[in-house]
Amino acid sequence: MRKRKEHDYRIPEPDLTPMIDMTFQLIAFFMVLMNFSQSEQNDRVTLPESELARPADAPVDFPITLHVPSDGTVVIGGITSTLEGIRPLLNNEISLLQAKNKGASDANIIIRAHRDVPGGVVQDFIRKCQDLGFEKFTLRVKEDQRY
């Protein structure tokens, strides 16, 4: 009897299950770290470094972030303005605070100023904020990587 060899014409398929698992792991990782909010970061601002800089233990109450790039303008809530035009933007923030039964003295002004901006410009912005009743200021710096 002559037996014919049975040829298996199926194409060998690699098992993709582990690769799909790893891909889902990576997606979950990036989704957890993803932050679409632009209020805390600004690419135009390079913060100075400080060895004493440490993240705050608790979130800041009623934060208002002022980004001050090297050209001396200011960015509040994504809107770029000059020193003279900052008042209406801050008044908007005060209105939002008043809606929560809070005032300017309860807010924390977080100043993220570029390392090369003149210090007098930062002083001017602080003074403008003080004129509107803001009292608490936080100067944000970058953590010194050497420590």
Partner: protein, 161 residues
């Protein structure tokens, strides 16, 4: 006539995973391209109530320590002086040592007590030097610990050019 039922097909129903894998890879590429690594940031808290509030201190020992910083034409730090008497050049270590000497054996700083430092800077002095000043007077690192010096910091009125 007896009709026989055709034998049930033994074909296994398989889900088509190709489309899902395509979408998953697209999502992954989106997240990778929009992911941004940002350096850790820290805060210096400065409490500055309305200008003119508080009045002059009655106790002369509570007068603020005046830290004067002068800038050159490029905005770089030219000179540091304390209380308009002692000049430290550009050496922040000496400034810190002087602050430590002034603090003496007094208890650690608090918001209500302890010395206060008033920073007076030239208008065009770069902000990085302001942060250096605040770092120098606020404290220093000793190993993994931070020794606090002065917690009360304020700015003098701006010196308009």
């Amino acid at each position: 006539m007896k009709f026989r039922k055709p034998p049930e097909s033994a074909v296994k129903a398989e889900l088509q995973m190709t489309s899902m894998i395509d979408i998953v890879f697209l999502l992954l590429i989106f997240f990778i391209t929009t992911f941004k690594i940002a350096a850790q940031e820290g805060d210096f808290n400065v409490k500055m109530p309305l200008s003119g509030a508080g009045g002059a201190p009655t106790d002369l020992t509570q007068l603020p320590i005046k830290l004067r910083m002068k800038a050159d034409a490029n905005g770089q730090l030219a000179d540091i002086s304390v209380n308009d008497t002692i000049s430290f050049g550009q050496d922040w270590a000496k400034v810190r040592a002087y602050i430590v000497q002034l603090m003496g054996d007094s208890a650690g700083p608090s918001e209500e007590e302890g010395p206060e430092v008033e920073i007076d800077l030239d208008y065009n002095l770069r902000y990085v030097h302001v942060v250096e000043a605040i770092t120098a007077v606020t404290g220093y690192r000793q190993g993994n610990d931070v020794v606090r010096l002065v917690d009360r910091i304020k700015f003098a009125p701006p010196r308009k050019p």
